[in-house]
C-alpha cells in the first residue's frame, strides 16, 4: 500500500518534472526542429539561483517574487543560447550543427556551474512541508510540481490560441513555407521559442530545487528523461508530453521496488529503446514518415 502511495505521489511528481522538460523541448522542436541538449542545465541553473538568492526563511511573497525573477532570467539566458545555436543555421549548408552546439552549450554551462558552485549538491530548504497519503508522508512539493506542469500546459495552449505570437508559432509548425509567405519571421520566432522554453525550465528548477537532487552533473539526466517523455508522448505533442512524463515517472519509481534503485535510469533507457523500435512516432504521435 505504501509502495502504491509512493509510486503515485513521487512517480507523478518526478514525472511532472520530466513532462515540464519535455514540454519545453517540444516548444523549441516545434519551432525549429532542434532538440536542445542543454535543456537540463537550465533546470540546474534555476535551482542554483534558488540556492544563491533565497533568504533562509522566505515568506510566500518573496518566494514567488524571486521565482518569477529567476524564471525570467533563465528565459533570457536560454534566448542567448538559442541565438548562438541558430547562428550557423543561417547558411543552408550546415543544418546539423545544433547537435554539437547545444552539447557544447551544455558543457559550458555545466562547467560554469562547477566553477561557481563546486561539485557539491545544490541543497535548498523545502518551504512547504509534508502531507500524509496512504500511510506515508510526502513533500507537498510533489503535487505542486504536478500543478506546475498542468499550468504550463494550459498556459502554452492559451498562448497559442490567444496571442498572435503563439498563433504564428503554431502556424510555423504546421507549414513553414506558408507561414513565411504570410509574413512570419522565422528566426525571431525560433528565438522566442528558446526564451519560452527557458521560462519553463527556469521555473521548474527554482520551484523544484528542494526535491530534485540538483548538482552540476545532473543536467544531462534531466535532458535525457525529458527526451524520453517527449519521444514516448510523440515529439512535438504537448499533451503527449504531459501524460508521458508522469507515466515514465511512475514506471521509474516502480522499478526501484522491483529491480532496485540502481537500475532506475536503465529502465527509462529501456523504455526509450522499446518505443523507438516499436513505434517511433510515440504513443500519441501520428505515424509520419519513418525516420529510417
Amino acid at each position: 500500500m505504501e509502495e502504491l502511495g509512493i509510486t503515485l505521489v513521487r512517480g507523478i511528481g518526478e514525472g511532472s518534472v520530466y513532462a515540464l522538460v519535455a514540454m519545453s523541448m517540444n516548444v523549441i522542436f516545434n519551432a525549429s526542429g532542434i532538440l536542445n541538449l542543454a535543456q537540463g542545465e537550465f533546470v540546474v541553473l534555476g535551482g542554483l539561483f534558488a540556492l544563491l538568492f533565497l533568504p533562509t526563511a522566505p515568506g510566500t511573497a518573496v518566494w514567488i517574487g524571486l521565482g518569477i525573477a529567476v524564471t525570467l532570467a533563465v528565459g533570457a539566458m536560454m534566448a542567448v543560447e538559442g541565438y548562438v545555436v541558430l547562428l550557423p543555421l543561417r547558411s543552408s549548408v550546415e543544418q546539423h550543427s545544433w547537435l554539437v552546439t547545444t552539447l557544447a552549450a551544455a558543457v559550458i554551462i555545466q562547467s560554469l556551474i562547477l566553477i561557481f558552485q563546486g561539485p557539491d549538491p545544490i541543497v535548498v530548504d523545502n518551504p512547504f512541508g509534508t502531507f500524509d497519503f496512504l500511510g506515508v508522508s510526502h513533500p507537498i512539493l510533489y503535487p505542486v510540481l504536478t500543478g506546475l506542469a498542468i499550468l504550463t500546459f494550459v498556459g502554452l495552449r492559451w498562448f497559442q490560441t490567444h496571442t498572435l505570437l503563439g498563433l504564428t508559432m503554431n502556424a510555423l509548425r504546421q507549414d513553414l513555407e506558408a507561414a513565411r509567405a504570410a509574413g512570419a519571421s522565422v528566426r525571431r520566432l525560433q528565438l522566442s521559442s528558446f526564451a519560452i522554453a527557458g521560462l519553463i525550465v527556469g521555473a521548474t528548477g527554482f520551484f523544484g530545487a528542494p526535491l530534485l537532487g540538483l548538482s552540476q552533473s545532473a543536467g544531462i539526466s534531466f535532458a535525457l528523461n525529458g527526451f524520453v517523455a517527449a519521444v514516448i508522448g510523440g515529439l512535438g505533442n504537448q499533451l503527449g508530453a504531459l501524460i508521458a512524463g508522469p507515466a515514465v515517472g511512475m514506471l521509474s519509481v516502480l522499478s526501484i521496488f522491483t529491480v532496485g534503485g540502481e537500475f532506475k535510469q536503465a529502465v527509462a533507457f529501456a523504455l526509450l529503446i522499446g518505443v523507438l523500435l516499436l513505434r517511433p512516432e510515440g504513443v500519441f504521435g501520428r505515424p509520419a514518415a519513418r525516420r529510417v
Binding site: L35, V84, L87, P88, S91, V93, E94, S97, L99, V100, T101, L103, A104, A105, A106, V107, I108, Q110, S111, L112, L114, I115, I220, S221, L224, F227, V228, V231, G260, E262, F263, Q265, A266, A268, F269, L272, I273, L276, L277, P280, R290, R291, V292
Partner: protein
C-alpha cells in the same frame, strides 16, 4: 574490380594498376603517420615521462575517434555510444587480467570481443532510427553504462576499481618506448590507414551512398542496413582496441573513467576536426583533450569550460571542421572546372545489339504493369494503370502534375507497395520483390535531382557497384578502363548539372540494366543539353537494347525520341500509342488538361 571474363582485356593495358588509396588520402595518411609518430616517440625518446604519458593517452583516444570518424564520416551514423564501447572493452580486459588472471594479450582480445558485442547491440537501433533519435539512444546507452557497472558491483568491483599488473610496462624496447607505446603507435597508424583504405574502397563508397541517399543505394542494389551494421562493426573493432590498450597504460580502471563526457569528447573530436577527413580526429583530439588538460590551465573546472568553448567556437566559425575547412580552401585554390568529359557514346558496347526481332520483342515485354492501384490517404494516385515496355524501346510517360507518374516509378522501383495489380520483369512476376532485388535483377533508375556525390571523383561515383554477372554488360569494360585515368582526377563538385545527369546514367549502366526508369532527366538542362540527352537515350535503347521508361515534362523531347507514349491523368491511362498515332488531341490533353472535378462542392 573487373569481371573475370575481362582479364584478357585488362592485361592489354600495361598501365593498369589497382589503386588502393586515393591520391589525397595518401597525403593525409602520410601527414597523420608523421604527426602520431612524432608525438609518441619524441617525448619518450627525450625522457619526458609526463608528456609521453599525455600523448599515449591522446593517441589511444585518437584510435577511438578515428573509429567514430569511419562510422560518422563514411556511414553517416550519429553515435554517442563510443565511450561506452571503449569502457566495455577496458573493463572486460581489466576483469579478465585483473580478476581472473588471464594473460594480458588474451585479456585484450577478450576486451575487443566485448566491444564488438556491445557495438552490435548499439547498431540495432540504427536499423530503425536515424539522425537525432539515434543520437539520443546512444547517449542513453553511454549514460547508463557506468551505472550498470556500479549496479553489478559484485562482478565489476566498481567501488574500488580494478588494478591490473601488466608485465613489461616501463621496460624500454627502443627509442624510449615500451611494448605498450609501440602497440599504441602501431594501432594508431593502423586506424588511420584503415580509414584511408575504407575511404578509397568500394565498401566505403557504398557506405557513403547509403548514408547520403538510402533510395539511391537501394536502386543500385545496396542495402543501407548492411552498410550500417558493417560500419558499426568496424568502428567497434577499433574502439575496442583503444579500450583494451587503456588497461596496460594505466593499470587501473573504475567506472569514473568512462562517463558520458568521454563519448562527447570523441564526437566533438570528429566534428571539430572535420568529418570527411582522415587526419581531422588528430586535430580534434589534440585540440579538445590535450590542449585544455595539459597546456592551457591547471584548474580542473576551467578545463571543461575551455573544451566547451573551443568546440563551440569551431562550430561557429568553421562548420566543416578545421581540417575540413583547410581542404575546402585547397580545393578552391587548386581546382579548375573541367570541360565536359562524361560522354556515354564511346562506352556503350557495340556487341550488345538485341537479337530479338520487332515482333518477338512486342510479344515479350521486358516490363509489364497490369492494373496497378495505389492510394494515399483516400486519393487514388494510381487507379488501374497498365503499361508495356519492350526491350530496346523508349517509352514516354507524360501527364500533368498529380497524374501518378512519380508514384508509378516509385512502385516500379520497389519503394512503394502496390495495393493491387502486377509487375513483371522479363516475364517474371516481380510484384513482391524488394527494391534491392529489382535493382539486382536489372531494374535501373535515376532521380530528379542527380544523386551523385560532390566530394568523390567521377570515377568513384561510377564505381559503386559490382558489375552484374549473368547479363551482358551495357558498357564496354575496355572503354571504361580508358576513361578511368581522366575520371579519377575530377571531383564531381566541378561538373555542370547536365554532366551530373549523364554521370548518374553511366553509374546505373554499370549494373547492366534491362530496364531504365528515368525521372524527368531533362529537368534543369539547357536546350543543347536536352538534344544531347535525346541522343543518349536513343543510344541506350537501340545499341544496348535497354527498355527505357521516360517520365518527362518536355513534350518535344518525348515526341522526338519515344517509340511509344502513354499519357496519364489521375492515375489512369488516357492515351497510348506511337507519337504519330497520338495526334493533337493527346498533346493538348497533356498541356492544357483542366482540373477535373476533384471533389463535389
Amino acid at each position: 574490380m573487373t569481371v573475370a571474363g575481362d582479364a584478357a582485356v585488362t592485361s592489354r593495358h600495361a598501365s593498369s594498376r589497382r589503386r588502393w588509396l586515393r591520391r589525397d588520402t595518401r597525403l593525409e595518411l602520410l601527414i597523420g603517420t608523421i604527426v602520431v609518430g612524432a608525438t609518441t616517440i619524441l617525448p619518450l625518446a627525450t625522457g619526458s615521462i609526463y608528456w609521453g604519458q599525455v600523448f599515449l593517452l591522446a593517441n589511444i583516444y585518437l584510435i577511438a575517434a578515428v573509429s567514430l570518424n569511419i562510422l560518422r564520416g563514411e556511414a553517416g551514423q550519429i553515435s554517442f555510444g563510443q565511450g561506452a564501447i571503449f569502457g566495455a572493452s577496458a573493463y572486460a580486459t581489466a576483469m579478465a587480467a585483473g580478476l581472473y588472471g588471464v594473460h594480458i594479450g588474451l585479456a585484450m582480445a577478450i576486451g575487443v570481443l566485448a566491444a564488438l558485442v556491445f557495438g552490435a547491440l548499439l547498431s540495432l537501433p540504427a536499423l530503425r532510427v536515424q539522425g537525432y533519435y539515434l543520437a539520443f539512444v546512444t547517449v542513453a546507452a553511454a549514460v547508463v553504462f557506468p551505472e550498470l557497472l556500479r549496479a553489478f558491483d559484485e562482478h565489476t568491483q566498481a567501488i574500488t576499481g580494478i588494478s591490473v599488473f601488466v608485465p613489461g610496462v616501463g621496460s624500454t624496447l627502443f627509442l624510449g618506448m615500451d611494448w605498450v607505446a609501440v602497440a599504441i603507435l602501431g594501432f594508431a597508424i593502423a586506424a588511420l590507414a584503415a580509414h584511408a583504405l575504407i575511404r578509397s574502397s568500394r565498401l566505403g563508397r557504398q557506405m557513403r551512398v547509403a548514408a547520403a541517399s538510402p533510395e539511391a543505394a537501394l536502386s543500385l542494389g545496396i542495402s543501407p542496413g548492411y552498410m550500417r551494421v558493417a560500419a558499426f562493426g568496424i568502428s567497434s573493432l577499433g574502439t575496442g582496441v583503444a579500450g583494451a590498450l587503456y588497461v596496460p597504460l594505466f593499470g587501473f580502471v573504475s567506472p569514473g573513467a568512462f562517463p558520458i563526457a568521454l563519448s562527447i569528447l570523441f564526437y566533438f573530436a570528429v566534428v571539430v576536426g572535420g568529418e570527411s577527413t582522415i587526419v581531422g580526429p588528430i586535430a580534434g583530439v589534440y585540440l579538445l583533450h590535450v590542449l585544455p588538460n595539459n597546456v592551457l590551465t591547471e584548474f580542473v573546472e576551467y578545463r571543461l569550460l575551455t573544451y566547451g568553448l573551443i568546440a563551440l567556437a569551431i562550430m561557429l566559425f568553421f562548420p566543416t571542421g578545421l581540417i575540413g575547412t583547410v581542404r575546402e580552401w585547397l580545393n578552391r585554390l587548386f581546382e579548375r572546372p573541367v570541360d565536359p568529359m562524361v560522354s556515354i557514346a564511346p562506352l556503350v558496347d557495340e556487341r550488345q545489339l538485341a537479337a530479338l526481332s520487332k515482333e518477338e520483342s512486342a510479344e515479350r515485354p521486358v516490363l509489364r504493369v497490369r492494373d496497378a492501384t495505389k492510394s494515399f490517404g483516400g486519393v487514388h494516385a494510381l487507379d488501374g494503370m497498365s503499361l508495356d515496355v519492350r526491350s530496346g524501346e523508349i517509352h514516354g510517360l507524360v501527364g500533368p502534375n498529380g497524374s501518378g507518374k512519380t508514384t508509378l516509378l516509385n512502385a516500379l522501383s520497389g519503394f512503394v507497395r502496390l495495393e493491387s495489380g502486377e509487375v513483371a520483369i522479363d516475364g517474371v512476376r516481380a510484384t513482391r520483390w524488394s527494391a534491392r532485388r529489382r535493382a539486382r535483377d536489372g531494374l535501373g533508375r535515376t532521380f530528379q535531382t542527380p544523386r551523385v556525390f560532390e566530394d568523390m571523383s567521377v570515377w568513384e561515383n561510377v564505381y559503386v557497384t559490382r558489375v552484374a554477372t549473368g547479363r551482358a554488360a551495357s558498357l564496354s569494360p575496355a572503354a571504361l578502363h580508358n576513361a578511368q585515368a581522366r575520371w579519377e582526377s575530377v571531383r564531381v563538385a566541378t561538373l555542370s548539372f547536365g554532366q551530373r545527369r549523364l554521370l548518374e546514367i553511366v553509374r546505373v549502366l554499370r549494373s547492366s540494366p534491362r530496364i531504365l526508369l528515368l525521372d524527368e532527366p531533362a529537368a534543369g538542362l539547357a536546350p543543347e543539353e536536352r538534344s544531347r540527352l535525346g541522343n543518349v537515350l536513343r543510344l541506350l535503347s537501340r545499341r544496348a537494347g535497354i527498355g527505357v521508361v521516360l517520365v518527362e515534362h518536355d513534350l518535344r523531347l518525348v515526341w522526338n525520341v519515344a517509340d511509344r507514349i502513354t499519357v496519364m491523368d489521375e492515375g489512369r491511362v488516357l492515351y497510348s500509342g506511337t507519337p504519330a498515332e497520338l495526334g493533337n488531341e493527346a498533346l493538348e490533353a497533356v498541356l492544357m488538361l483542366g482540373r477535373r472535378d476533384a471533389e463535389s462542392d
